[in-house]
Every structure is written in C-alpha cells, then in structure tokens.
Symmetry: C2
Subunit: 400 residues, 2 copies
C-alpha cells in the first residue's frame, strides 16, 4: 500500500548515517512526512537488521524503524566510499548522524568541510550527552540516559528500586526532537538560504520531560521521590479495584473530582473536613482509596467505564498490546498499518501519530533490503553504469 | 536574560487556546524556537497557574510550561471575546487547542469557518484519543493514556503491577509531536500557500514509542511482559552492584559485551557454551549477573565508571534530580536556565533540548502574568484604546 498524497517534506533529501534506534527513528519520521531518506549502511548493514524475532529472514524490529527509506551501502573506511558520500551530500538538504561526537570529523566531514561542500546542508546529530562538556567521549545507550537524566530515579514504586521505562524512551524522544529541530532548520533556511547544525542529546531530551518534577525541585529543593502509580501532587488518583479488575481514574482537578465522587454517591466527601482540600486528601490517600473501592467493588469495570466517561471523568483500563491492537479506537486511528519489504513479505508496523489534513504522513517506500537503493541513488547522482560497476568492483559500494 | 538571536520560527504567530500540559508544552517549544505565542486564557487563567508549590505567589509548574508566551484574557463564552479571537486568528499562522474534539465547533470555529477566515491558518489539535473513532467523546488525561496505550502494561517489575511513568509522558510526547506536525505544516504551506489541520492524540503518540515491543508482538503474537530493568531481548543488561552502590551497564551488542567482560577479566564467558549466544545468556541471566557482580563488588562505582567508559562500554549511575542538576555535563549543556516572571521574580526552568547552531532556541519573553499581554496584543491587532476599554468594560477581555 503506497500513499499517493505527497507529505509536507516532499522534495527534501536526507542523507542518513544513523543506525540502531535514536537516529533511525528520527529519519523514519522525516520519511513518513515525505522526505526522501537515503540510509547509508556499512557492508554488514545496520545491526538492527539482525535483531529481534526474524520472519522469513526479515527483522520486524528493523522494519519498525526503517520504512520509507532507501538503503545505499558504502564502505566509509575507504576513500572511494567517502567520495560517493561527499557527492551525495553536495546536493542533499539534511545529513543526520548518531555517532559519538567527533566521529564525523574523523571521517573528513568536519563542520567547515561540510559548509564548503554544501552551505544549504542541515547537519543533525543525535547523541548521548551532547558535543560539549566532560562526558562527550562517553558511549551512550538508552538505559544509561534513563539513569543519568533523573528519569529512573523517580520512576517506580515508593518502596522499590529505580525503574527504567520499558520502551527506549530516551532514544525515541531524542529522535522526535531531532526531527523537529531539522524541520525548524528547514523553515529557517527558507529565510536565510543557509543550513545549520542541529543537535539533540538523549539525556537532555529525557530531562526535558522531567517537567513539573523539576519545577517542584527548583521551588522546594526537595528531591522528588518515587510514588509508583500515585500522583505526587494529586489524590485520589490511580488504579482502583472494581468487581472484575482495576480501572485507572485520574481526576485532574476539583470539578472532575466532584463528578467522580458524585458518580460513586460519595459527594459528601468533599464537604468533610478530613477530605475537603487536596492537601487533606493527600494525607489520607489510603483512607480515600478504601472509600472509593468499597463503592467500585460492587460493579464490573465496564459499568464504571461507561458511567465515569459519561460523567466526564477521565478513566480507562490498563491494556496489554494484544488489547491495544484489538481496540476499535486504535483501529479507527489506523495505528497499525501494513507496508512491505523491498524484497518480499508484507510487514505490520505502527501507524502515524501525526495526522495532517492536507499532506498526510504516508507509506512512500517499502522497508529497504540492504543496498537495495544503491544502484538507483548513484544513478540519480550522475554516476554512469560503468562508474557504478567500478565502485562495486573496488568494494567502495555494495550492490545487492 | 533575553536571547538576542532570533529563532527559526521568528515571524510565526501562534494563537494558543491550550491549557494544563500537552498543549502548553507544544506551544512553549514553538515559543522557544522563536514563534510569537499568544496564550488565550479564561478570566480565571490556566488552572496550572495555581498548581504545584507557589513561590511569592507564582507557580514554578506553570513557568515550566509557559515561558516565551504572552497572556491575553478573553471571555470565550461571550460574543465580544469570540469576536476578538476571530480578529486575532484572521492574521495568525497557527491555532493550537487541546479541547475535546468538537469543542472548537461549539465555539463557532468549525473547520469551514476557520478556512474562510484565514486559509493560511494551520489548525492544530492535541487530544486524548483522536477526533475519529468510538472514544472521541471520552475525556483524557496522561495517566489514562499511559494505561490505554499499552505503556503501563509493559512498564514495571515482572512480579509487580503495571506501572505508569512518573513524568506525564503521554502529554509531553504528544506535545512534541504536535510541534513537529505544525512546523512540517509550515514547510508545506510555503509550497501550497494553504494551511491545514494537524492532530496528535496522546494515546497514539505514546503507542508510537512502543516501537520494538510492537514489532515483537507482530512477529510472534506473544504479548510482551513486564521485565523491570531487564531488557527483554538482551543479557547481560541492567543495574549491577559495585562496592558502594549500583551502576547501569548496557552492552548493546556483542562487540561492546566483549569489551565489558574483558574489563572484568571475564572474557572467557563468551567462549563458554553456557553463555556463548545471547539466547544462552538470556536463559542464564541470573547466573551471569552473579559472575559479573562478584567482580564488580571489589571496586567502587567511580572505578568502574572510569574503566568501562574508557573501554567504550555504555554505563552510568541512577541520578536523582539533585545529582542531575549538579552534574557538570548538565551544566555544560545549559539544561537549567533562568528566566523571569513578567511581574517579578527570577525563575529557574529547564533548558532547551534542541541545540541549533545558527538560530538557537532562546528566552524571548518572560513567563506572563494573567492577561499581561492583553493590552499590547489587542493594540497590535488594531484595536484603539477606546475599543479596548469598552471590551474590558463589557467583560469580553480582562486587563490586569
């Protein structure tokens, strides 16, 4: 299934030197938005091609991060491959890499060289700690960024250990921020005519989500503690037992709290001095939970989901992925779509979280096989069949 | 401290009807990137102005989401306030709202009306479930989106309960995606001359981070389970005890694993049939942890952080926010900055995760007091002093 409508980034060419997660997620989003993403891979390919469960020799893990790209295999350890890369960069719009800071310089692609080669080029880097400061030489990985950013310190049960988020949130949040920085640089370039550098560090990106926890720390000097599923500033809030399981209820302010308690015939609670302020309720969180669960235990989850949603109280159930992917709302939002591999089977992937009315995200290209775009992309760059054959013969490029 | 350099979105005007978190985070990012963000507030203001710990009557929580904005107070329940809003929209670039789907229509601002009013206007909505599907009328909240998206189902200890992430990740990820969708629509508009709708649902945004967990589910049909700090696909990985506490180590592939084990004089492990494949190591995760911790227990954390980083092994410590904000790397990255309130005190806020070389993010405007921009913005829109006074007298607008 190929989407006919052109995305908002149609006509933008991205040279993608990234591998594994943060960078490939960034460039996949750019590809979903219509950019022409050329994924430069080493002869062995992005290591993720061999990770996760393989189906007919294909990694769904790789597909989930690399649809809407063309794969070009270059040996960047040799001059031949590097010369091809320089030619591709000379008329590209964006270069994205997620090496450790300094690696691009070692490849002969320092900022000055790139500016001379193509002053309109936007040069984006996704890395662990940023390219300035004492940790620039440290290797990074999602789990480490979750630990160093303060995220793990607040995540988890009050009486438990610091807990990482299951998804690689620091990789993915950095990838989204990098895509945003790149598109903002494109807007800027339309005014200035010049490219610029864009950098997002995984630790900084995840720290930016520490939002109100940081504000509270700045205001009080107190280190926020782990509170599990309890909100540190609001009660009641969390998972509550019904006759057949738990539902989550999050009364975000007093008006919604009143609706919630009224729906449970507990309206009196708010005029009881023991519970008549959020401070008082925070102090008697457990008591309040007992009162609430005493009511909710009398009916199944579906009853409360209907009643509370109808009353305008945010509530829902904890869904596992099987339930998510059979949820009619997820289907209505087309959050599971099917693409294909360049060399074969159909492939389920997640849909597009950004819904644009006129120039929507779409499936513009299948998941590329290793080097599946080498011939085509080099020909577009003006290489003759003979030159391509010579480059392949010298090992500078690999043809599938 | 006001940043002199103009951001990449300089000249873009955003009319911001959002409140609480997801929308304000989106528009703050647009403001950080240089957009002129006009935050329309009801006479009582964004409820977050009264949330969190107050310092000298100011909420740091509000400041953390609303720097780089001007505040205009309009009564949108009355025709007078709505007429002012329409005039502001007629020459704006972007409208952002995070009401429940349909609310804008009820305010007389349906898609057709907005298109007639200003065909170049980009109309962005951040909501819980999206504007199509069976759940469109359900109220949403971060905790509920974490539950419904599948995130909580995989987050937490194997033997524990589903666990929310401590920060409001579904609000914030949706806010970043919305900012990206808006900037992409600006790029598209430079080609088409027309605005369009942009929509991001909190559940969809968070689901998009379920990345490889979804790929594994699609490939195997097995529901991914909670694995706490263990990686479901890789071992060894996680927190390991040293003489004076734990450090996180994440050997993301075999080469790094070899470096890790060599640094511990455990190189032999990889040629031992019990541990010579990731599958074998996954099956003997606990055993492997004992071997590793037996070595690491002999030295303090700093020793291993130095040794492993030097060996190119991603590692780090779990930092609490006090440690994060005294970390020299966080300082070098300027991830804590000081802005001010329009009506007073200095205010610490988080820095900018997107680093742009030529047109950086910056502090263009202080944190606005309620209605602190009403007079100025209405005057810019062509209202005379008399008209403004009349509007204030009628209660359509509120002057501070």
């Amino acid at each position: 299934m190929v989407e006919p409508v052109k995305g908002p980034l149609h006509g933008i060419r991205v040279i993608d030197l990234t591998r594994v997660l943060s960078g490939p997620f960034c460039t996949m989003i750019l590809g979903d938005l219509g950019a022409d993403v050329i994924k430069i891979e080493p002869p062995k390919g992005d290591p993720v091609r061999a990770q996760g469960t393989m189906s007919e020799g294909h990694s769904g893990y790789f597909a989930g991060f690399n649809r809407n790209k063309r794969s070009v295999v270059l040996d960047l350890y040799g001059d031949g491959g590097r010369e091809v890369l320089r030619r591709l960069l000379s008329d590209a719009d964006v270069l994205v890499e997620n090496f450790r800071p300094g690696t691009l310089d070692k490849m002969g692609l320092d900022a000055e060289t790139l500016k001379t080669l193509n002053p309109r080029l936007i040069v984006a880097s996704v890395n662990g700690y940023g390219s300035e400061g004492p940790y620039i030489d440290r290797p990074a990985f999602d789990f480490i960024a979750q630990a160093m950013s303060g995220f793990m310190g607040v995540n988890g049960d009050a009486d438990g250990a610091p807990m990482r988020a299951a998804p690689p949130v620091s990789d993915l949040v950095a990838g989204i921020y990098a895509a945003l920085g790149i598109v903002a640089a494109i807007v800027s370039r339309q005014r200035t005519g010049l490219g610029q550098t864009v950098e997002v560090a995984m630790v900084n990106g995840l720290l930016s989500l520490m939002a109100y926890l940081s504000s509270e720390y700045f205001a009080t000097g107190k280190v926020p503690e782990r509170t599990g599923n309890d909100h540190p500033l609001v009660a009641p809030y969390g998972l509550f037992r019904c006759a057949d399981g738990q539902i989550g209820v999050a009364p975000s302010h007093d008006q919604i709290l009143r609706r919630f308690l009224d729906a449970l015939d507990l309206g009196w609670v708010l005029s009881d001095p023991r519970y008549d302020s959020n401070t008082a309720r925070m102090a008697r969180r457990a008591e309040l939970r007992e009162l609430i669960e005493a009511r909710m235990a009398g009916q199944p989850r579906d009853h409360w989901l209907r009643a509370l949603n109808a009353a305008g109280v945010p509530c829902g159930v904890v869904q596992d992925l099987a339930q998510v992917f059979s949820d009619p709302q997820i289907a209505a939002q087309q959050m599971v779509i099917e693409t294909g591999w360049q060399d074969g089977p159909a492939q389920k992937v997640l849909g597009f979280p950004i819904k644009l009315g006129a120039t929507p995200c779409g499936l513009h290209r299948p998941v590329p096989r290793l080097g599946g775009g080498t011939q085509e992309v080099l020909a577009e760059a003006g290489y003759s069949a003979e030159e391509i054959a010579r480059l392949a013969g010298s090992g500078a490029v690999l043809l599938p």
